[in-house]
């Protein structure tokens, strides 16, 4: 089945962390242990949002050593497509849900001597499981975590209490900025850099590190894109002979699935490459929203990533 094996789970706990963030704990329905995962993994949560099927990826933030459940933290996005609103407004303890087995697109490179981490806002979640994992073997890390305000700095208390000398917090509201050049200059050889947060932050961190001579294989980032909302468009599925219309708040992948066609995916956020699909005919413009295809791929126009990308024009036919 596309997207890998499913895990039937029960919601064990829902906790309001701050004004914008809720934490959800999932356990197996039969009390058996959850499948093992490594720090940085995510799970895709399936939702039946009043007839619309949503599958959104969320980083697992709990300790990989805890096999009794997975925890995710979800930031409410009032203008998004509704996945986070559904979780915030409708998911309550005791509910049965289906999630995917964990997939790790942001794993710790275990050869590193030290991990230098940069988190922005809700981008803290993969680091929580990674730091838990590192703490078990005494792995060296240094976390720089920026949030809009003290009230919105989720899990800062927990992190600074456990690792007072390794966690550094910054607040936009108080005009505190990460002194990136100084931090980058002080890292021992063999340090790997990890960044997760808003796009602007990721680009700033990576570009500054590259300019300072950090090599590409030591730079790691993760950014899940929510499928953007856009205009409706029509697509011909050449392999199955169907023609479908993608609604404004629906992704192409979701529309393919809604038509009963099985399509591959893993992250549903434009990062993993699993959903790559061949373009058979295109009279118009593909709106590439993924981080997977290269500029050359885009110029050739032979591929599309249905989990996040859209189309505008007369005719699009894809191999699905």
């Amino acid at each position: 089945m596309s997207g890998g094996a499913k895990l039937p789970v029960r919601v064990a706990e829902v906790v309001q962390v701050n004004d914008l963030i809720k934490r959800f704990r999932f356990v197996t329905r039969d009390g058996s242990p959850m499948p093992a995962f490594s720090g940085g993994s995510h799970t895709v949560v399936e939702m039946d949002d009043h007839g619309t099927r949503r599958l959104n990826p969320y980083s697992i933030m709990s300790d990989p050593a805890d096999s009794s459940g997975y925890e995710i933290s979800v930031r409410r996005d009032d203008v998004g497509r509704g996945g986070s609103l559904y979780l915030h407004n409708h998911v309550t303890p005791g509910m049965e849900m289906v999630i995917s087995h964990p997939v790790n697109l942001f794993p710790l490179d275990t050869r590193a001597k030290k991990y230098l981490m940069f988190a922005g806002g809700i981008g803290i979640t993969p680091f929580l499981s990674q730091i838990a994992q590192l703490s078990h073997h005494g792995g060296r890390f240094e976390l720089h975590y920026s949030a809009r305000s003290r009230a919105l700095g989720a899990y800062m208390d927990r992190l600074t209490a456990a690792h007072p000398d390794r966690v550094h917090c910054y607040f936009d509201e108080e005009d505190q900025r990460i002194d990136l050049p100084r931090i980058l200059a002080n890292q021992p050889i063999g340090t790997h850099l990890y960044v997760c947060g808003p796009k602007g932050m990721i680009n700033w961190v990576l570009d500054t590190a590259r300019a300072a001579g950090w090599p590409e294989p030591a730079l790691h980032h993760e950014e899940f894109l929510a499928p953007p909302v856009g205009d409706a468009f029509t697509v011909q599925l050449a392999a199955t002979g169907k023609t479908i219309t993608v609604a404004p708040a629906q992704s192409l992948l979701e529309a393919i699935e809604a038509a009963g066609v099985d399509a591959p995916y893993l992250c549903r956020g434009g990062a993993c490459g699993q959903c790559e699909t061949r373009v058979i005919a295109c009279d118009g413009t593909i709106q590439h929203n993924d981080h997977w295809l290269t500029d050359e791929d885009r110029a050739e126009g032979q591929k599309i990533m249905p989990c996040v990308s859209r189309f505008a024009g007369k005719h699009l036919s894809i191999d699905r």
Binding site: D109, R111, A112, K113, K114, L184, A185, N186, Q187, P188, I189, G190, T191, H192, A211, A212, G213, W214, P215, E216, P217, A218
Partner: protein
């Protein structure tokens, strides 16, 4: 000419490229024998040669064929320039340099495969990505071989097959390379038919 074109082989066989100056806060160049020429040529390509020299640490040993181009390196005027009599005496110094290095350091290795491989092994042991270490082969093509049977290393192997300097088995020289051991693999050539040992041919000079 000190450059060798290695014929295409299995994926395991290391390949090399010309050293290119890269931006960095410091630079470590390790070379033996004719590898000195690669360091000199790389510096000729530097956009800001004085700045690169001011942040450059060179470690050098003569090659296994006796080539000693120390003078050409010393004349460059790098911030630090160290000469060791042999590779085994160069490596402890490299270990110290690497232990004190910070991210933003660029590594340039040039010379024989034995020097390049051992320096790469020691640098990547810190967690620094091996793919980010630049390597340019120059000079002698003799090989550093591990006997897959007794695990002993024989340095500067010139013939194929060759006799393991530890256990005495006759070994066939494979292109199968171990980055962790910094050695090609030697496999017993007469394991099936004892005593049927082809005449050793000089393949590496």
């Amino acid at each position: 000419m000190s450059k060798t074109e290695f014929p295409p082989s299995i994926r395991s066989r290391p390949v090399y490229a010309d050293l290119e100056p890269r931006p960095g806060r410091s630079h470590v160049a390790v070379a033996d024998g004719e590898g000195a020429e690669a360091i000199v040529e790389m510096l000729d390509k530097a956009a800001d040669r004085p700045a690169m020299l001011a942040a450059l640490h060179i470690l050098y040993a003569p090659g296994p064929n006796g080539t000693d181009q120390w003078d050409s390196l010393q004349a460059l005027g790098a911030a630090q320039c160290f000469r060791a009599p042999t590779i085994p005496t160069l490596l402890p110094r490299l270990g110290r340099v690497v232990a004190d290095a910070h991210m933003g350091t660029q590594f340039y290795l040039a010379g024989t495969e034995g020097l390049i491989g051992q320096a790469e092994r020691d640098i990547m042991a810190t967690g620094f990505p091996h793919a980010a270490i630049q390597k340019e082969h120059r000079g002698s093509t003799v090989r550093r071989m591990q006997c897959v049977h007794c695990k002993g290393i024989t340095e500067n192997v010139a013939t194929d097959p060759f006799k393991c300097s530890h256990c005495g088995l006759w070994l066939f020289v494979r292109d199968h390379y171990s980055r962790r051991l910094a050695a090609f693999q030697g496999v017993n050539i007469d394991a099936e038919d004892k005593g049927e040992i082809p005449e050793p041919v000089v393949r590496f000079t």
